[in-house]
């Protein structure tokens, strides 16, 4: 496999006066050229630290990282010509500039000749449906338009490896789809391009990524294709239960014999529990807990496993899980 990104025993420790926080703890990763690779993990798992090291914004405490064959510590100057990063919810740039002016400004930091840069910007604006906004001030853009502009900023310099950090966060369905479509199209143009994506949206990772790594507490707990990860929960029964609000149940459910994992997310005033059962018999114990809680059952379904279920099993909790359950 031609390697685009490789890390060896990568470790990063943040030191404060009173404590040390291990953000990355011996990460070994190999990402092939031409891959769309997803990095998934709960908040504080180490995803952003990993990305920041790979884009030369942070130094590792120990270990090594190579991007496009270049060492991120010693060859960062050459590497910076070959990479770009776009983060979700970015508010970068200058609100008073017009969209095309802002994009031109960023292209100049890479030394692009002005006229080719302007042509490339016009082409990308057209492709992402932003041509009409080219002369609008950045401050007047909607969040979806702004994120498309940010994606264009990442693509102007034609990077070999594109890092996307939560690129569709807080976008509506249409804008998120446009961003994903553009990423796919950009990848399809040249087989040697690589995308490394962090996301909170499991569906997005499932849909967009060839392979994913799940990071938890600074370590990679699993990696493979979405299908391979889902296979890890294939032997489990997946049950979704919707309950009326009430007292905390999650810990009690996790302790029921036969429950391999549980997560909860609140939606529209209903607590939606997802349970991974090692056998259907565990459902009896679950129902006893639910009945004892006095909560009303609003719905119950058994379904096929998803990437989110694999995540719950590997990490022990859901990506969007809050502690209300």
């Amino acid at each position: 496999m031609d390697i685009a990104v490789e890390t060896r025993a990568l470790r990063r420790v943040y030191k404060t006066r009173s404590q040390e926080v291990v953000a990355l703890d011996g990460v070994d990763l190999r990402i092939g050229r031409g891959e769309r690779f997803g990095v998934l993990g709960p908040n504080g798992a180490g995803k952003t630290t990993l990305i920041k090291i790979l884009v030369t914004l942070l130094l590792p405490s120990s270990g090594a990282a190579f991007v496009d064959g270049l060492d991120v510590v010693t060859q960062f100057r050459e590497l910076r010509h070959r990479i770009a990063m776009v983060s979700g919810g970015e508010n970068v740039g200058f609100g008073m500039l017009k969209v095309k002016e802002q994009l031109w400004m960023f292209s100049q930091f890479y030394g692009m000749p002005s006229n080719p840069a302007k042509r490339r910007i016009a082409e990308l604006l057209e492709r992402l449906g932003l041509s009409d906004a080219a002369d609008r001030r950045v401050s007047g853009l909607s969040s979806g338009m702004r994120q498309k502009m940010n994606l264009i900023r990442g693509l102007i310099t034609n990077p070999r490896i594109l890092f996307l950090d939560e690129p569709t966060v807080a976008l509506d369905v249409g804008a998120a789809r446009d961003v994903r479509d553009e990423v796919r199209r950009w990848m399809a143009e040249d087989a040697s391009r690589t995308v490394i994506l962090t996301t909170h949206y499991m569906m997005e990772a499932d849909e967009l990524c060839d392979r994913v790594a799940i990071v938890n507490r600074g370590r990679i707990v699993a990696q493979g294709t979405p299908a391979e990860l889902k296979q890890q929960v294939q032997q489990n029964a997946i049950v979704d239960i919707q309950l009326s609000p009430g007292r905390r149940l999650l810990d009690a459910l996790r302790e029921v014999a036969g429950v391999a994992g549980a997560s909860v997310a609140e939606q529209d005033g209903i607590d939606r529990f997802t349970l991974l059962l090692s056998s259907d018999a565990a459902l009896g114990g679950v129902m006893r807990i639910v009945e004892g809680s006095g909560r009303e059952i609003r719905g119950l379904q058994k379904r096929e496993p998803t990437l989110e279920d694999a995540f719950v099993k590997l990490v022990g909790r859901g990506m969007a899980e809050e502690e209300q359950g």
């Binding site: 010509h81 500039l97 002016e101 930091f109 030394g111």
Partner: protein
Amino acid sequence: MSHPSAVRIFLKTIVARAFPRFVGSYRNRTWIVTETLLPLIGTIAMIYVYRALHAPARYLGFVVLGGVLLAFWQNVIWAMATQFFWDRGQGNLELFAMAPTSLAAILLGMALGGAYLS
């Protein structure tokens, strides 16, 4: 892979980073108060202090010149400092640091933009 030379990137970065300041001077006119009116009041205050000290009137021109230069450099440095702080908060600094350019060129661009405005 061939890239533009470091010198070319350096010069382009200076112009590009100064650009928002040039454009801003036309599109956002609050600088008229902060960078003209306030320094003018400061210079006038210096003249009054100088005269209150009963210092020789023939050197008054130097007080005006000193006040103007002080205001000029204060504007440049203050503008750079606030821009730098703002760039950090907005996330611009990360993008500047990630680009294959020099942070010195970024700072020079900020200074050039600030000098133009002053």
